[in-house]
Symmetry: C2
Subunit: 399 residues, 2 copies
C-alpha cells in the first residue's frame, strides 16, 4: 500500500488544517516563585487575551507536553492542567517526546481538530526544571537516549551533540567560530524579547573562551535550564473568526522518527528526522523552503541550529555553517532563524519549547513581535526535536 | 458555543470511527528475560499474524502508552519502538495518563485515522515494572497523584482506593465479602487466559484472610505488579478488508477528566470521569448500556470494579456491590465483566493495560477467546482509568 504521507496532501492546494486563535507564553527563566501549573496558568491567561467569545467550556480536549515525571514527580499532567485552568471535565492527556513534547502536543491538537471530534482544543507545554540540580537535569535528559547501551556507556547530551559537531567540523570545515555566531545572534535577538531567559549580549571571544562542556562545545554553545510554559488554543478554521479577527493557520506539518541510538545512524551529523518532517510539511503546504519568511528551530546546542539550516533546506547539506558565517539568519537577513532568541537565549523549558516556538510564529505573523519583528512575513516554520534528534516535528503557519 | 461532545455524534447512526485490523499481547507477568521493547515486539509479532498484505511501511504513525521514565529510565519510547519494530521513519510519540496510557494511545490512533492523516496506525502500550522494588513502584504510582498536597501528605494508591471503599461501604452497605467476589471471579476467568499473570483460583476465606494493605483492602483486593505489552493496528474502515477478513470497529469513544486531587471531589466513591466517558461513548455509538455484551473495566483494586459497574450504567449508583453479590458479572451472567481476568489476574502492566483490554475485546468479538469466550457478542466496552480515576477513557467496539 502507498503510504498516505507519500501522497501529495490536499492536492497541492493550500489547505488550512487548523486555526491558532490564541497563544500565550509565561516569562521563561528561573521562576522560583511559581509551580509548573502556575506557569501554565500564566501562559493561558495571556492566550485568553487574544480571544473574544471564548468560554472555558468550549475547549473540548487538552494536550499537555512535558517531562514532568522527572522534574516535578508529577505525571497525569493533563488532569492537573484541566483542573487548574478550570477546564474540567474535558478529556486530557500528556504527550512526551522529550524536547519535542510541546510540538507533539500541538500536533495532536491539530489532528484532533482535523478529525472533527472537537471544535476547540488546547495545546500546552510546561517544564519546571530549576528545582533540580544540573546533575539531576543531565540525568533526566539522558533518559531520552537509548537506555541499555548509550546511557550505560556514560554518554551525556552535551557529549552527543559534541559528536555531531566534531563530525560536521571534520567533514565540512565548520569551525567553533561558526557555532559562536549562532550564540551571538540568538543572544542578540533575545534582548528584544521581554520574556526571554537570557538578556545578555555576548562577543565571539566570550563564547570561545567560555568553559568547555564537551569539546568542542563550550558553555555558550549550550541552552540554559529554564522554567516556563506556553499554550496555543486551536480551532476549526471554519469557526476561527468567532474567537478572533486575526487567527493564524497551520497549513502544513510533518513528523518523523530516527533511531534512538546514535550508534545506529549512518551519519551523526545529519538530522534525518528533521529533513523528513520538513519535507512532509513543505509538501503538505505546497510551499518551498525559499518561501519561508522566518523559522524557529531547535538550537539546544549551537551546532544543532547549523544542522537545522541544512535539514530545513535553507542551504545545501554540509554548508549550514556558511549561512551562519554570512549572517544570513539574523533578523533582516535572507532567512531569519530564531528571532525569539531560540532555545539558546529565550530559554529551553523542555516540554514547553515546541509551544514557545508556536507562540513566536503566531506573534510574528500577526506583526506583534515588537523590536524583533521580521518584516513581510508570509509562511513561518517551526522545527522541534526530541532526544538526540530522534523525533522531529515541523509546522508551517501562515496568516 | 455548544461543545461538540454535547451534540449527537454521527446523527445517531452507528458510525465506524476506525477499524482494528489486528491486535497482539505479550504474556503478562514477571518477565525477567525480556526488556520493554522486546515485550512490544512479542505483542507486535502476534498482531502481524492477524493480518495479510500488511507491510511495515504501511504504518504511518506510532502511539506508545507507557510510564517508562520511572520503570526503565527511558523516555522517547516512540522512537525506541519505531526503531525496534522496523517502522522508521514514521512519526512516533509517547502518550501518558498513568494507567490510562494504553487506551489514550489507542484513542489517539483512532483520532489520527479519523483525521485522514494516515490510513494505518499502530497503538501500543508497554510497562516493564518488575525491575523495581514494591517501594519503588509505590513511589512511581504516586507520581500520578497531586504532588504538592496529596503526595506530600503520604497518601499511597492503595490508601486512595481504601478511602473510596470505606466511603462506599459506609453509604451503601457494600462489604468486604462483596469486594472479594470481584477477586474470586477475575482469578477464575484468568485460569482460562493462557497469557494471564496470575493462574490461581482463590476462595472467599483466602481473600478475606490475606494480609491487610490499606484497610479495608487486603492483598487479594490489589492488582499485581506486571511486565507486559499489547498492541493494536488500526486502519481506515474503508480499507480494513485489505488487511483482514475480520476487522472489528470502534463505534464510540469517550474521554473525560476529573480533579487530580481526591480532596477536591464532591464524592470520592463516584468515578465521575468514567461516567462521563461512558456516556460520551454510548451517545456516539448510539447504544445503551443494556446493549453491551461484555466489558473490560479497570479493577486496579476490587472496589474500583464495583464503582465501574455503576459508572458504566450496568446498575444504579450505590448498587454496584449487589451486581457482584449476585454473580451477574461472571461469564454467562447478565453482563460479563473482565472475562480476561482483568487487571486483578490477567495483570496490570500500567501503560499496557488499556491495550490489553482492547486485545480482549478484539479476540472476544472474533470468537477466539477460547475457554473464556462470551457468547453472542455484539457490542463490547473497555474502560481504562489513570491516576485515582482522574482520567478515564471508554471505547465501544463491534464486529
Amino acid at each position: 500500500m502507498e503510504k498516505k504521507k507519500d501522497r501529495k496532501f490536499g492536492l497541492g492546494k493550500l489547505r488550512k488544517l487548523a486555526a491558532v486563535v490564541a497563544s500565550g507564553m509565561s516569562k521563561i527563566g528561573r521562576r522560583p516563585e511559581l509551580t509548573g501549573r502556575e506557569l501554565v496558568l500564566e501562559a493561558f491567561m495571556e492566550a485568553l487575551d487574544f480571544t473574544r467569545n471564548l468560554e472555558r467550556k468550549d475547549i473540548g480536549a487538552i494536550y499537555v507536553g512535558s517531562q514532568s515525571e522527572t522534574y516535578e514527580h508529577q505525571i497525569m499532567y493533563g488532569s492537573l492542567v484541566a483542573d487548574w485552568l478550570g477546564l474540567l471535565p474535558s478529556g486530557s492527556l500528556r504527550v512526551e517526546g522529550c524536547a519535542a513534547a510541546g510540538a507533539l502536543a500541538f500536533r495532536q491538537a491539530v489532528i484532533d481538530i482535523m478529525s472533527g471530534l472537537h471544535d476547540v482544543v488546547l495545546a500546552c507545554g510546561v517544564e519546571k526544571m530549576s528545582l533540580r540540580t544540573t546533575a539531576e537535569v543531565t540525568d533526566a535528559l539522558m533518559s531520552a537516549s537509548e537506555s541499555t547501551l548509550e546511557q550505560y556507556s556514560g554518554l551525556t547530551f552535551p557529549a552527543i551533540y559534541a559528536l555531531m559537531a566534531t563530525s560536521h567540523m571534520a567533514r565540512y570545515g565548520s569551525t567553533e567560530q561558526d557555532m559562536a555566531q549562532i550564540a551571538i545572534k540568538n543572544h542578540e535577538n533575545a534582548l528584544m524579547n521581554p520574556k526571554a531567559h537570557i538578556k545578555k549580549p555576548i562577543s565571539e571571544s566570550e563564547v570561545l573562551s567560555s568553559r568547555v562542556v564537551a569539546t568542542p562545545l563550550k558553555l555558550y554553545d549550550c541552552s540554559p535550564i529554564s522554567d516556563g510554559a506556553a499554550v496555543a488554543i486551536l480551532a476549526n478554521p471554519e469557526i476561527a473568526k468567532h474567537f478572533t479577527d486575526s487567527p493564524t493557520f497551520v497549513v502544513g506539518m510533518g513528523h518523523e522518527t530516527d533511531t534512538i541510538g546514535l550508534y545506529e545512524r549512518e551519519d551523526v551529523a545529519w538530522p534525518a528526522a528533521v529533513f523528513g518532517a520538513c519535507n512532509e510539511a513543505y509538501k503538505m503546504a505546497g510551499v518551498e523552503p525559499t518561501e519561508i519568511s522566518f523559522a524557529e528551530v531547535h538550537d539546544c546546542f549551537t551546532i544543532n541550529e547549523i544542522l537545522a539550516y541544512e535539514a530545513c533546506g535553507f542551504v545545501e547539506r554540509g554548508r549550514g555553517h556558511l549561512l551562519a558565517r554570512q549572517g544570513e539568519t539574523k533578523i533582516g537577513g535572507k532567512i531569519p532563524v530564531n528571532p525569539s532568541g531560540g532555545l539558546k537565549a529565550r530559554g529551553h523549558p523542555v516540554g514547553a519549547t515546541g509551544l514557545c516556538q508556536i507562540y513566536e510564529l503566531h506573534l510574528q505573523l500577526l506583526g506583534e513581535a515588537g523590536g524583533r519583528q521580521v518584516e513581510n512575513t508570509k509562511f513561518a516554520l517551526a522545527v522541534n526535536e526530541g532526544g538526540s534528534n530522534a523525533v522531529a516535528t515541523a509546522h508551517i503557519l501562515s496568516k
